[in-house]
């Protein structure tokens, strides 16, 4: 972990960036723009992670989000109401309650931060983080790693099962509904 005023300055820059762009996500007229604000916020957090000595996580976060935002933009363009999802719009409900909840959440978690109950156990050799992670992945946390693998596999199968419009045997839609209450309706369905 690096320390010093430059780091602090960088942190404040990233922190401000993360919060402001995070806030802008919900204060913008266009979904696509919101997506890019979100990406910016993630990127800023990724930067902080790097500052904290977790390069691997930071970089993965940024890369993953970039890819994801791309998908998100496509989804919006493909499916959402406003063609291209670029037009100005405000789609908010229960604004005050939501704001209240957000503020309460912030205060609670911020309070936790200020209580200072966390023990002080600085990481001894930050440079080794990525290597240690590798060992962890294939050693102590192997089961977790394998489970995550299965989860990703299941996610892929599931996502395809839901989205792909073409089944192996004709349309995926065909027959994918509840059985009718009367058997004779089966043929029509």
């Amino acid at each position: 972990m690096i320390t010093g005023p430059i780091v602090d300055a960088a942190f404040f820059l990233f922190a401000a960036g993360a919060i402001i762009s995070g806030y802008r996500v919900f204060r913008t007229d266009s979904m696509v723009r919101a997506a890019f604000y979100l990406l910016a916020s993630f990127a800023a957090v990724g930067g902080i992670l790097v500052l904290l000595g977790s390069e691997f996580l930071g970089m993965v976060l940024i890369l993953m989000m970039a890819g994801e935002m791309l998908i998100m933009a496509i989804v919006m363009v493909m499916f959402m109401m406003n063609p291209a999802g670029l037009n100005p719009m405000v789609m908010v409900h229960q604004n005050r309650v939501a704001a209240l909840a957000g503020v309460v959440a912030f205060l609670a978690l911020g309070g936790v931060a200020l209580l200072g109950e966390f023990p002080s156990r600085p990481a001894p050799k930050p440079a080794a983080a990525t290597r240690e992670l590798g060992e962890e992945l294939l050693g102590d946390s192997m089961l977790v790693f394998q489970t995550a693998g299965v989860t990703l596999l299941a996610t892929m199968i599931g996502a395809i099962a839901i989205t792909s419009s073409r089944g192996r045997h004709g349309s995926a839609e065909e027959g994918s509904s509840e059985p009718p209450l009367q058997p004779d309706e089966e043929d029509k369905a």
Binding site: A108, L109, G111, V112, L115, E117, F118, P119, R121, E135, L138, G139, D140, S141, M142, L143, V144, T147, A148, V150, T151, L153, A154, T155, I157, G158, A159, A161, I162, G167, R168, H169, G170, S171, A172, E173, E174, G175, S176, S177, E178, P179, P180, L181, Q182, P183, E186, A189
Partner: protein, 476 residues
Amino acid sequence: MNGGAGMVAVVGDVLPEIALVLGGIVVLLYALFATADRQVGAALLALATVTIASLLTLRMLAHDQIVTFFGTYARDGGALWAKLIVLAATAATIGLSVPWFRRDPRHGEYYTLLLFSALGAVLLAGATDLKEFIVAMLLSSATGFVLCAYHRRSSPAAEAAIKYYLIGALANSALLIGVAFLFGLAGGTTLEALATGLPDHSLTAVVGVGLVILGIAFKIGAVPAHAWVPDVAQGAPAPVAAFVTAVPKVGGFLFLARFVLALPDSSVGWQLMIALLAAATMTLGNLASLWQDDLRRLLGWSAVSQTGYGLMAIVAIGRSDLAVPALLFFLLAYVPANLAAFGVVVELRGRTAITDYAGLARSRPALAGGLALSFLSFIGVPPLSGFVAKLLLFVVAMEVGYTWLAVVAAVNTVISIFYYVRVLAPAYFGDLRAPMPVLGRAAAWTALASAAALVVTGIAAEPFMAAFKAVGLLIR
């Protein structure tokens, strides 16, 4: 990092899980290559997988109870029994699914997802580490969302799935920061680390624990993250509804038990909190069930209330010898009852309006009997297993001084009679209006077998009780 030999030995501890993974892949491959009319074979393969996994699990019952995989996974009696319950329920779900999905061309992948979902519940039941917990939750949830949305042309299914998903995503996202805090406090992610590392009277721990409990509350359908249950029960494909309202609960409850076991007594007031959640959950579930005209939705709400009863066992965890047996017996009673009730619905082609059940006893006496047994077990009428379960729950609640909770549960039980009878009375005393076509043998037998299990485990409770008494719930 340990040596390769150690790794091999450790792999031996998760043979059933590996069987499920491999079985899932085999099923997927089979489904990819089999012709449309052979897709049913996937169900048989899945059934075979479940059988193999069950046999492997049974073999392990005799082994020592240990925590393996470097503190991340328990191979103890609790996990094994939970595994058996999950696997049996999965087998039953397969039985229900075959006729239900007969016309669906993407039949095959369904079983892969089902097996993976069961795997998620199994892993959840054994997890002794927050990482493993999160991933297992994720596996169980992600597959659950997809299964729920499996009917592509069903609008209620889509709606139920997205609500299920949104609530789950919120709970999961919130859970993560809680886990981060606990990690920061304890310095590690295993439950053992929590047990030793959590400071006393820490507000930070309160936030962390609260968030984790919220995450589990979503999994088991407890207040305040319960809202998905009735929607899924009503909208999802009926076999999936049977599965999703029961199986993940097994894992969720087991992990919750382990989690509270890891909490130092003085760090957070979890007993009272769980007790209040239990009371709120059972009361809300029962009240909301009262006037349901849709049987599947009613079953969903009653599943919520049942979760509330089950939470009574959690309150006593660590302080009563009977708490773990009570929890396991509750699951042993609840899961088949749920499967039996939904099984009847499946067999009746998803018929769900309560008025449509009028005259069921005259038209289909066996199904009516199955439904009645299931409901009576839900109420807790002896000698069905639901009674033994409720009795044990009352015992443990009273034993640890939560008599008021037992009283609340008793009052709720009385309330619940009303809506169960609201279904049963027309089924038994009403006049048949129209013929009641059924779906097929497999679903009927599955439903009736589940109902029979209620009678058998209720009367022959001793073998299970003796086994459960010996069960440990390890966190280190």
